[in-house]
Amino acid sequence: MTRLLKSREALLVGVIVALLALIASRFPAFIQPGNLVDVLTDTSPLIILALGQAVVILTRCIDLSVASNLALTGMVCAMLNVAFPGLPIPVILVVALALGAVLGAFNGILVWKLSIPPIVVTLGTLTIYRGIIFVISDGQWVNAHEMSAAFTGFPRTDILGLPVLAWIAILTTVALLVMVARTPLGRAFYAVGGNPNAAVYTGLNVGRTQFWAFVLSGTLSGLCGYLWVARYSVAYVDIARGFELEVVAACVIGGIAIAGGAGTIMGAVLGALFLGIIKNALPVVGISPFWQLAISGAAIVIAVAFNARAGRRQGRIILKRAEQEAQA
């Protein structure tokens, strides 16, 4: 199993390298370091959200409210900035993280305490959070000239050649890698998703573990909310609409099993990078926008086919053994 997952990541790295080579053959400037930094920066929100989503999917849940959470937190941050232009950025960041966590915890509580299927809970909150944005903003946009320079400048600030936005994605990845591999909660995510019954017998609280997965996903969505609004310097009801599907797609392409319990953090990051590269390359290589949808879709189907084949092979081996034993 481990070998298989390792090969999934190796495969993804191979695909990404091949993809970059293909793009470079049509548009050499794409693989210049400066442009690759731009691509990484542009993909950072997707990476951060995919990390949170990966953890949620590991626990056999799904969080469809991430994009709405992002948009709501982003709108709140933007409105705070308009109301109090002097508010320091660290305060805004804390507000974004805290509000995101609260919105995630709301999903988590419903899943944990009321045992509502996660897809239903987050489908509901997806609409609720979008609705709240409309209510608090009254449908108005928050525009670039209303935001303070510090507010929009933060994700763009260069540190050691990389913008802060990219650094946040890298730091989040490292933090998640350590957490999932080295902390009891991190291991619990796998245990709960892999076999909930066995997890109960080992003394894990399945619902609480799922709750923390939702809180984590919500917190990261909240963080992205501020970063997104600052990066595009505009906040309105519709920002990032439909982005949740891209996030789930990144996880699936990265080999996170939708049935939970299998997949790695690196896989999710690579899945996000794969989609990010496609999104950034298609405009410059001059391919019709419709192909972008088709290519992303094809990648998802192929990834799921891989997952399904892996699962089926296991089943066949067991059956063959049983067959052989019966014959013997």
């Binding site: 946009w141 000239h145 310097s233 519709d238 920002i239």
Partner: protein, 332 residues
Amino acid sequence: MSITRRIFGGTALAAMMLAGGAAHADDPVRIALVVKALGIGFFEAANDGAMEAAEELGNVEIIYTGPTSTTAEGQIEVINSLIAQGVDAIAVSANDPDALVPVLERAMQRGIAVISFDSGVAEAGRMLHLAPSSDALIGRTIIQLAADHLPDGGQVALLSATATSTNQNTWIAEMNAVMGDYPGIEVVATVYGDDLADRSYREAVGLMQTYPDLDAIIAPTSVGIVAAAQAVVDQDMVGQVNVTGLGLPSEMAGAIESGASQSFAIWNPIDLGYAATMLAYELSANGAEAAPGAVIPMGRMGELELDDSTTGAMALPFTYDASNIEQFREIF
């Protein structure tokens, strides 16, 4: 708000039943403004104009409604509920020219006056279409805006909404039709940002990378023009690439300030909502006929002259730049 409206609608219906339809003369003319989606600044401003017209006319109630996302399915649901409420007129800005035709035909069969404004419905589905400006004039305006700042010619690219947007495609076609008048200017590409900030931003960055000598990006969509201006600022291309097209003054004020955009144009959405309401009133309450060649008054906006496809143009688009942005950014 919609709950209030529903209760109000219910009460009005009950009152009508009680009165046995005797009080028709005192019933307000109920005109529904169905927009592409709620929460879009442009349509909020159109609603202000509709309110102004309602006040001027007196006995008119405006129902401002629309789906929460820009889908034809959402508009069909909204229109179905308006038919059930028995409104007198519907003015719609369509998300799809053909998908709305059956439901609007049903509305007209029930005696509801139907007009489309801003983004049109196919002829079978409305009595008349109020274009904010004529498509030909907009097509010329957007290329003229770019040409104004390119006396020696240069390369321009188009950043549109979705590849299937009715109005963007018409304007681009009209623009291409007059390109012969601008010999030095070359349109190098047309890309689609799907009216999403992130995708439009990415497409704008892609344009600047693919065409290093690009002089202007024309975005005939309010989301695209803002995203393109931000991309130009982030890529340090202010002064080299001029972003222009159609946008709202309140949303473009930052881009004018930063110099990413020299000028842009838009008709006045307040006037558009006002004119749509006036026309809907004329058709539903004053017995005006929407036939080819007809001339229908629309209050302070003058008269609308209908062509063979019962379409009329309201006015010329208006150009905004550093000289007047301060005045208009507060309005819409």
